[in-house]
Symmetry: C2
Subunit: 480 residues, 2 copies
């Protein structure tokens, strides 16, 4: 853990740097199951913080949670043509149960539109049963060849919202509303600025009419999709026969949506904020926003200092801030400081006998450092609350500045390639709207259309590759 091995520098090998941070900060570990990871307690605590806040936002927007089966009959996957085409190659298949071969294989859910659709067909009879606004917190499995901790693993944790509506307008409102929830969440809690937009046809969800997304930018100039919200039209309601008796007395197919974010958000926040010293955690989702390190040399000092440390911890709790007192024996303060720095703790409080004598403590920030700050103990909890807010804002602003510096509008393909091979980031360019152009650019540069941003306007120029009239002004990037 806090051994002598150095963390690889970002500039030397960004991938190795990321892996070093995840493993050394004990957020996750590789498992003996190919492509599957273990969420260690400090990594899982981030997910718990994400869940708590996001669940509140879902409930405030009228949603309730439910839980549907993990295993889906293979035939269900085949009912929506695009859906099976997109997901079948990624499925894990259960062929035996209870010692016998199954009559029909079961697929481990890669996503739950089909199994949930089959239940909604049973529950929806009349317009009075609509809308259904259900979310599920669950594990899903998508077979992956190349995996990366948090970002891409065969099994991952996520939430998937599945809603059904009377009209397409209502469904579309929901799709937009939930993308808004994701955007606010990413920016307010993870301090990751994101660009909202919609996917091109070739990048949208298998079975959707439209996929909206939020895209973040990592420090190596690569984009990361942070959440998606799908307008499923009537594709699944027709495949699963979700019909209702309308206000006009006629039977009609309902309209459905789905939306999800996953544990890859943890990868996003690590990559967006951390540095060569280790993890940097945004205070709002940090497992330990504040660590108090008491310093002592003998038993008398220990009793004195620990007493004050726990008093301060109580004061922090009263302010709604979760403190951790690092009272481990036989470790030097310097060792603890290094370890908490590696672990990305936003604020460290140092408290020694002389501090107690002067009724003060010393605050050290993980980032946005203005040097150490001495604070009277009586005001420490309030001041720490302020500092945490400052750090949260600082991280967001820093990431936003990075994104601004790394978003480049180009009008020629040479510029396009130059930027990608140079500083990287988002490249804004006109697109003629064809799959052919999109595919050729991906093949030649490895960049994909991350989204057609919300501020897409009728472009004045021509497609950056084909020279044909541009239909959209889009954001390209290499992506995770």
């Amino acid at each position: 853990m806090a051994d002598d091995k150095k963390i690889t520098k970002r500039a030397d090998d960004y991938s190795a740097w990321y892996q070093d941070i995840v493993l050394r900060a004990e957020l996750a570990d590789y498992s003996p199951v190919r492509g599957c990871m273990v969420f260690r307690p400090r990594g899982y605590a981030i997910w718990e913080n994400i869940q708590r806040d996001m669940d509140r936002r879902f409930k405030e927007t009228g949603h309730v949670n439910a839980y549907f089966p993990l295993m889906i009959p293979e035939s269900f996957m085949k009912k929506e043509a695009q859906h099976v085409e997109g997901f079948a190659p990624e499925c894990a298949v259960v062929t035996h149960g209870g010692g016998e071969k199954l009559e029909e294989p079961l697929v481990i859910r890669p996503t739950s539109e089909t199994i949930i659709g089959s239940m909604y067909a049973k529950w929806v009879q009349s317009y009075r049963d609509l809308p259904i606004l259900i979310n599920q917190w669950a594990n899903v499995v998508r077979w992956e060849m190349r995996t990366r901790l948090f970002l891409r693993t065969t099994e991952f944790l996520w939430q998937e919202g599945h809603t059904v509506h009377e009209t397409h307008d209502e469904a579309w409102e929901e799709v937009v509303r939930m993308l808004g929830v994701y955007r606010s969440f990413a920016e307010e809690m993870l301090a990751v600025p994101v660009i909202a937009g919609r996917k091109s046809d070739s990048e949208r969800f298998a079975g959707a009419l439209t996929t909206l997304c939020i895209e973040g930018l990592m420090q190596d100039g690569k984009a990361l999709q942070c959440g998606t919200s799908h307008d499923l039209g009537q594709n699944f309601t027709k495949a699963f026969d979700i019909k209702y008796l309308g206000r006009d007395g006629k039977q009609a197919f309902a309209w459905s949506t789905s939306w999800g974010v996953s544990t890859r958000l943890i990868g996003a926040l690590i990559m967006a904020h951390s540095d060569d010293q280790g993890l940097v955690m945004p205070p709002n989702v940090a497992p330990e926003p504040v660590v108090i390190v008491p310093i002592w040399k003998n038993d008398d000092e220990k009793a004195l200092v620990l007493g004050k440390a726990h008093e301060l911890a109580q004061a922090l709790k009263a302010c709604g801030i979760k403190p951790h007192v690092d009272d481990r024996e036989n470790l030097k303060p310097g060792f603890k400081y290094n370890e908490w720095e590696l672990r990305g703790v936003p604020v460290r409080v140092e408290l020694g006998p002389r501090d107690v004598a002067s009724s003060q403590c010393v605050l050290a920030r993980r980032v946005s450092g203005t040097g150490k700050e001495t604070v009277p103990l009586a005001q420490a909890a309030t001041r720490i609350g302020e500092v945490l807010k400052e750090i949260q804002a600082f991280l967001f602003e820093r990431a936003l500045a990075y994104r601004k510096e790394h978003t480049t509008s180009v009008s020629t393909y040479d510029q396009f390639k130059q930027v990608l091979d140079g500083k990287g980031g988002f490249v804004r360019a006109n697109w003629d709207g064809t799959k052919e152009t999109e595919a050729r650019i991906k093949e030649e540069t490895k960049a994909t259309i991350r989204c057609i941003p919300d501020d897409d306007h009728a472009p004045t120029g021509n497609d950056v590759l084909s020279g044909a009239p541009g239909k959209h002004s889009v954001l390209y990037a290499r992506a995770y």
Copy 2:
């Protein structure tokens, strides 16, 4: 839902009664996947309430959460001889992934001792790394032939604690501590009185030295296991090579425990408290502890009454009580009352224009009824808080009285059978400690040893069946 179909009476068909309640109160539904159920929002909300409170108790006793892979290499299951014998027949097996046959099949976790053990072997080096106190909230799959909503399904939700310790004494302390947590939880939150004890060898967990359990009694006189806590000794630490460098400088195998409760607890509380009118929910885990039903005939009344209803809802929230205002249009109050009765809402508040004019409201209790009670609006929130506590206590006392009436000590096998075929319940009898006696009683009466209770004393009499000297005074019952 609240249609005209009557709920089957308990006396007529207890199983049909239970199923009627679960389906009609919309707690759960059957799924198209054999043996798997759907947790509908009102059923899942109970699980969320259970999770929130239990998670708090786990954290207060020093545990943290983590998450381990769903799929376990088949070879891992075979490393502990008793474990594979117990679980292999129940496993669902993934044989294909990503379109190809796997080199080694993967089992969907029926429980996670093996996969977690393999990680602990990596994390534990020295006594300084101990204890590890980790819990996991997860889904598990155990192939079941005969299923019953919540009580026994192929997939279910649960928590599983997995801890490793330096000494057997410490591990044993943990096993006892967690059974205590389960017992307090069941009695305080679910209002289900339970008997704590240990399992006989033939009923203990596959791979454990000792299994402790809590057992509840349902209204049909059958017992229901509500939670188990296992002393795994060194069985798994040896199988997975979890060794540590001890304080004495020598390598030693660690000692491990595991403990779990599942969504079957929801079945327990339904069966323990509900009646022929429908569900009865203990207030402490009810999805809606309080429903306010506003009554109006015209728009003026509606505005007046809804305004007051939301004021009262605010006052309840301020007291930490979650209110639900049933403001649905076009439904008569009587219809709503019946529906909320079926759904087991502990307290219903009726609020009409004349009530508002007199600044009062009417409370109706789902159980422990003393008729309706008129309460001044200004005191309503406080009074409702008291009534909820009274109902919680009433349900526990009623279930406890039932258990006392249905616990019978017997000294002859004739009495034993008479009680089982008569009023049922727990039968306390002396046991000679042999597997043969236990098996014959099970075969002849379908009763199993539910536990050797904590108050087991050297019995004075002989075994109820064999007549050999009794070794333990045990509790037999037919069980779910």
